[in-house]
């Protein structure tokens, strides 16, 4: 995992489908910290995450992700190479088993990691041979968490990481976030529920 220094946004404005979503959003997250994005539906939490990931371009403002080597990833695609993504659409293929799904992403992200161990950590050991179409929403979320861990990106962008998870699952997710931060990573999570750890909050209001 590449060591990060900080993630900084300044004067961000975003428009979707020609309508403004938010403007003048700024924050700074140091390595080892988490930021919780809050706000009503439609406030632009997901848009902000997609903007940080480099999928969409801001109307105004800048995002900077700086690594310890001092290289600032202002280029959106370069930033994306440091980001791990977890969202509602979990990217689990219905035709592939849980293990095949995870093994594919391990190879796609060029990671020499133990797929079975990671499945065990998120409590999917018994479901590993089950095709994705038979996994419940919570199990898919656990699989997405496993992928996030396995791909070992220093910046985690999470959209509703706790949704669909049971009590144990929520605890698992909170532990994973805490562990990731402790290892020097950065987490930005859009959430309606408390993440279960101390972190800064950024509230987006609907325009």
């Amino acid at each position: 995992m590449k060591a990060l220094s900080f993630l900084e946004a300044d004067g961000l404005a975003c428009a979707r489908g020609g309508r403004p979503v938010f403007r003048d959003v700024g924050f700074r997250v140091e390595a080892g910290a988490a930021l919780a994005l809050e706000g009503p539906n439609g406030a632009g939490k997901t848009s902000l995450l997609r903007l940080i990931a480099g999928f969409i371009a801001p109307v105004a403002g800048t995002v900077r992700l700086e690594t310890k080597e001092g290289a600032a990833a202002a280029d959106p695609e370069e930033r994306g190479r440091l980001a791990g993504w977890l969202a509602h659409h979990d990217g689990v293929k219905p035709q592939l088993t849980a293990e095949e799904n995870l093994a594919f992403y391990a190879r796609l992200y060029d990671r020499e990691a133990d797929v079975i161990d990671t499945l065990d950590e998120v409590g999917l050991m018994r479901a590993r041979a089950l095709p994705g179409q038979y996994l419940s929403a919570g199990m898919k979320k656990r699989l997405a968490l496993a992928r996030l861990k396995l791909t070992a990106r220093p910046l985690w962008l999470m959209d509703e990481p706790l949704a669909a998870l049971d009590v144990l699952g929520k605890r698992l997710a909170a532990e994973m976030i805490a562990t990731h931060c402790a290892a020097g990573g950065i987490v930005v999570a859009a959430t309606h529920e408390p993440l279960g750890l101390e972190c800064a909050k950024l509230t987006l209001g609907a325009l």
């Binding site: 994306g80 969202a87 979990d90 990217g91 293929k93 594919f104 796609l108 992200y109 060029d110």
Partner: protein, 221 residues
């Protein structure tokens, strides 16, 4: 190389498993090719002449059948977000998907074509040209189709728009491909295969860039 092979392998696996488009395209190709002799009637000379053209049109239509989900399936379930963040340039991603589509559609169609040509009583000197032209030309169908699939991935019922975008662009391949078979039947020098090669090469080299651009556009949308 690992990320590229991972994506190629996964797409081949998805295409050949239940619900994938590979067998469907092959069955469609066979059904269309088997219907035409029934419609045209038992004029063996005529059937032999039109075999190349009919099989080429059927092959392009069959390839289109499984193309509309090339990016759409990954776009809808969030896989494309994950793939876009992977250490593989989107151009290489598009190339892997084109290659996987050809290996599961164009290649099987080419291998099946001589069997279907029997239904048309294609004279024996035509078989080599038919298979060669399909082998050379079907990668162009996958490549040009990938551009259309990239553009229509976020459009509901995009599968209906896709042929309108792709079929006109495939006209040169059909002309040269069917022309190559006719030239072989008439014992003429076969320049059509060279022109088809040029078209196919250009399509396969340029399409990944266009498809990658359309993926970026849709991820931002």
């Amino acid at each position: 190389m690992t990320p590229f092979l991972a994506l190629l392998g996964r797409d081949i696996r998805l295409a050949t498993r239940a619900g994938g488009g590979a067998m469907l395209a092959l069955a469609f190709f066979a059904a269309v090719a088997a219907l035409v002799p029934l419609g045209v009637g038992a004029d063996l000379k005529l059937l032999g002449r039109i075999a190349g053209g009919v099989l080429w049109v059927a092959a392009v239509l069959a390839a289109l059948l499984s193309l509309d989900r090339l990016f759409q399936a990954d776009f809808e379930d969030g896989s494309l977000d994950q793939i876009a963040l992977a250490p593989l340039p989107l151009e290489a991603t598009a190339f892997a998907k084109i290659a996987a589509h050809w290996l599961t559609t164009g290649l099987p169609l080419t291998l099946l074509s001589p069997v279907l040509a029997l239904l048309f009583n294609l004279p024996e000197q035509g078989y080599a040209a038919l298979m060669a032209s399909l082998a050379i030309g079907t990668p162009a169908a996958s490549a040009v189709g990938a551009i259309g699939a990239g553009l229509t991935m976020s459009v509901r019922r995009g599968g209906l728009i896709l042929p309108l975008l792709v079929l006109p662009l495939m006209a040169p391949a059909v002309i040269f491909g069917a022309g190559a078979v006719i030239a072989a039947l008439d014992g003429l020098a076969n320049g059509a295969l060279w022109l088809l090669s040029a078209f196919s090469l250009a399509a396969v080299l340029l399409a990944p860039f266009a498809a990658a651009a359309s993926v970026r556009l849709n991820l931002a949308g």
